[in-house]
Amino acid sequence: MAKLMDYDRALELFEPVLGFEVHIELSTKTKMFSDAPNYFGGEPNTNITPVDLGLPGSLPVVNGQAVRYAISLGLALGCSIAPTSRFARKNYFYPDLAKNYQISQSDEPIAFAGSVEVELPNGRMFTVPIERAHMEEDAGKLTHVGGATGRIQGAEYSLVDYNRAGVPLVEIVTDIIYGAEADAPELAKAYVSTIRDIVVGLGISEARMERGNLRCDANISLRRRTPEGEPPAPLGTRTETKNVNSLRSVERAIRYEIQRQAAILDDGGTITQETRHWHEDTGQTSAGRPKSDADDYRYFPEPDLLPVVPSAELIEELRAALPEAPAIRRRRLKAEWNFTDLEFQDLTNSGLVNEVIETVAAGAAPAAARKWWTGEIARTANAQGVDATTLVTPLQVAQLVALVDAGTLTDRLARQVLEGVIAGEGTPQQVVDARGLAVVSDDGALIAAIDEALQSQPDVLAKIRDGKVQAAGAVIGAVMKAMKGQADAARVRELVLERATALPE
């Protein structure tokens, strides 16, 4: 077990420097370079063509839909789209790579120089610089058999399934990220989460991390802090953590690597440039293969493919069709709804922004919509261990709010109505009718109850007449009780004060 330094201490001594490579599997109908369906799983080596197997004589053909998806993603990342980009061959021998080269993009990616706005849980906005987004093909899948760990070490033999070979990928590479400081783990999580939101918003990938549709390789190094006035220390040696298959893991893996590297550096050790394998179960990383900047992939332009030259019209058409960026959308909504930072942050953290949008669209005031979703509904969902969105619809919540606004329901009554809606008793109005929960708005009935209460408590009546208005509380309580809660307390109060002076002594 690696020695770890206390996180706060590590941050005192070192500045974390980050970089991410996120791979996204595009949900096109067919593969990147062949007409095999873009689907894997199932019987091994059945979803393949001569192209996916790299059979002699076979040739790749670029999937136009994958190019359009890549352009849309590049635009959503604020990138420039290259008028001409090119595929290249990345040459290395590995049995999951059918041709022993991967068709990727090297120095001429389709999208470059963008940025992504990321909001951290503490409300801090962070701009992640994007170096590039490029297209490439996925490799096949190796299964190592006979070892204890399922990894290549100790295995007796390995099986290879090429069904995944040629699945279209876009790889998003960030520039070096400085300044995350103690927020580094949260930034990592928020970044990947934002990328996922963007991709899902574009509808170009399933983006399920647990299924490998979206994979994050996290690069991290530590730079020793220098006293004020001295030049900054050089960048530290980085590690690249792979196999990070959930948002939570991204955060944990970064925190772990910061603590691990800090302990080594503080002991006078050096960091090995290598890939690190994240273990979800133990919450640790272990050494993978050494990775050197001198790895020579002998990139050269793929001679079997023409350059990708999207027309300006296509790019503009895709730009016009882009959904609003998550960060911009958040900023706009916060302003439109007039929420405080804290209120909006709560809402974001609850994951119910879309529900509030729809509830507002259905006529509810933003504050009321937020209050119901993050309050009573979220509490009930939590208690039942279900997703809040499964309990009620935004329309039902809007109808509930409307009943409150109209004075038909008090908050207390409305909670009972919500309970009925959740129990499947129908729309809020149906629940009101069925349970007879409406506020008694007949002043006559209220006055009768008030007069009775006042007359049965002459001492209270006397106090009110003496101007001790707060004494009215006891009467109001009695009236509400008599009305079984189905009265508007404010109206009752008004009437109590009125009747106290009106009643004969």
């Binding site: 197997l53 059979l55 002699p56 076979s58 021998f93 002998r298 001679p303 079997d304 023409l306």
Partner: protein, 511 residues
């Protein structure tokens, strides 16, 4: 005495098949018999597909008898260079590493041949992965030149050229990366054309150098090449580098051949030093004939051509080193398990060590080096710049000439074994053919007679701008007609009859 069907051109045979005078089974059997008689000496074939060929022929005969509308070439036998993948026929590309591999799919050109009803009689020998100019780098032994069995048939497509020259097939498919169709045509007295890059689909041609390779026709007459080109050409969505042009009929271009007013530019740099006198003599004669027929002969310069070989021998091996990486024993072909087992890398390494011949290894190493970090700009990068210069030279030359012309190769067929110890001298044999591949333009080689000093065939090469393949068919057909008119016979009728048992089989047999 019946006509020897193997002596007929594809066109003549096609006419007899259409008229019902001859059946495809008869024509196919005649060629299979000829192969059985002479291929022991020539070794043009790596695989003879007797059974499937006869079955295909019988099917054509049946369909013709049923009154089905067939392609004019239906039922004509054809030989296929082993670089082309053929469903059901073994495909080795001349290498041990693919010994016994039967592809599960057809190259696009094969699909087109089958659709036209041509009968594939077998796979022809070649230098391993098309790397060579003599077929001596075939892992299965060299092919012999039918004009002199001690000499090379050219390469890499020596098998296809020799098969056609030895009347084992009326025509054949070849592939040309730096001259592998044209140089064998030159040394065997046959016709061969490298189409414009992108004119014929490369899907299913085992790649040597993707940016240079083209499949093309090999035949005894210009018309037969044109007829075959008409079948195999055209856009293929499976090949991204395939042109979307609608091509004219090349057979029509042959029939309308006329050189009156045609400006023919003689390439200054591709004559003189290093060119055999007998080759130059036939070359000049041919130019004189064309001039006499109304062509305008001028001289043009291609100053960058002197760097073309150097550039070619960086680009070609660079692409080859990557293209040949897939031969690793994992999915197909040879697998060599090292003694005592080992990792997958050990198995890959042992397989490649044993499966590749010396020339393939030489080029893989050269190409790997040329692409390596730190050397890329100096080698691969510079070579690509030279390639651009060569293309500019051609563009400038074609401003003043409709076609360019040179001898196809500096010498006639050299002796087997003569250059195997000297790769550089072997590479220089392609000096005249390589520039067309670098520029992506079409080139044709047509026989112009025999060199006086050794009595061996000599070819002339015409080059045209990209997409102007039809122009080449026109000028080549015109020259062919002028020469045959002058000689009173075809050149190949002068070739030795290789089979004593067939001495009486032809009227043209005696010289």
């Amino acid at each position: 005495m019946t006509t020897d069907l193997t002596r007929l051109t594809a066109d003549a045979l096609a006419i007899k098949l259409s008229s019902g005078e001859v059946s495809s089974v008869e024509a196919t059997q005649a060629h299979l018999d000829r192969i059985a008689a002479v291929d022991g000496s020539v070794h043009a074939f790596l695989h003879v597909a007797s059974d499937s060929a006869l079955a295909e022929a019988a099917d054509i005969d049946r369909r013709r008898a049923a009154g089905e509308e067939l392609h004019p070439l239906a039922g004509v036998p054809i030989a296929i260079k082993d670089v082309i993948v053929t469903k059901g026929m073994p495909t080795t590309s001349g290498s041990k590493i693919l010994e016994g591999w039967v592809p599960p799919y057809d190259a696009t050109v094969m699909t087109k041949l089958r659709a036209a009803g041509l009968v594939s009689i077998g796979k022809t020998n070649m230098d391993e992965f098309a790397m060579g100019s003599s077929t001596e780098h075939s892992a299965y032994g060299p092919t012999h030149n039918p004009w002199d069995l001690e000499r090379i048939p050219g390469g890499s497509g020596g098998g296809s050229a020799a098969a056609v020259a030895a009347f084992e097939a009326p025509f054949a498919l070849g592939s040309d990366t730096g001259g592998s169709i044209r140089q064998p045509a030159h040394v065997t007295g046959t016709v061969g054309l490298k189409p414009t890059y992108g004119g014929v689909s490369r899907y299913g041609a085992i790649a040597l150098a993707s940016s240079l390779d083209q499949i093309g026709p090999v035949s005894r007459t210009v018309l037969d090449s044109a007829l075959l080109h008409d079948v195999i050409g055209g856009h293929d969505p499976r090949d991204s580098t395939s042109l979307t042009d609608v091509w004219p009929s090349f057979a029509e271009a042959v029939r309308n051949a006329d050189v009156a007013g045609l400006r023919i530019g003689v390439i200054t740099e591709l004559q003189g030093d290093g060119f055999q006198p007998g080759v130059m003599e036939r070359f000049r004669e041919a130019l004189a004939l064309l001039e006499g027929a109304g062509a305008i002969i001028t001289e043009v310069a291609l100053p960058s051509v002197e760097h073309a070989i150097a550039a070619y021998y960086l680009i070609m091996p660079a692409e080859a080193s990557s293209n040949l990486a897939k031969f690793d024993s994992v999915r197909f072909g040879l697998r060599v398990n090292p003694k005592g087992g080992g990792t997958v890398e050990d198995v890959m390494s042992a397989t490649r060590e044993q499966g590749f011949g010396a020339e393939a290894k030489r080029r893989i190493i050269l190409g790997t080096y040329a692409l390596s970090a730190g050397y890329y700009d100096a080698y691969y990068g510079s070579a690509q710049k030279v390639r651009t210069l060569v293309q500019r030279d051609f563009a400038a030359a074609f401003a003043n000439a409709d076609v360019l012309v040179s001898p196809t190769a500096p010498t006639t067929a050299f002796k087997l074994g003569e250059k195997t110890g000297d790769p550089l001298s072997m590479y220089l044999n392609d000096i005249a053919t390589i520039p067309a591949n670098l520029a992506g333009i079409p080139g044709i080689s047509v026989p112009v007679g025999l060199a006086a000093e050794d009595g061996l065939p000599v070819g002339i090469q015409f080059l045209a701008p990209a997409r102007e393949d039809a122009r080449l068919y026109g000028v080549a057909a015109a020259l062919e007609a002028l020469l045959e008119q002058k000689w009173g016979h075809t050149l190949l009728s002068q070739a030795p009859d290789l089979s004593p048992s067939e001495m009486n089989a032809t009227d043209e047999g005696a010289v």
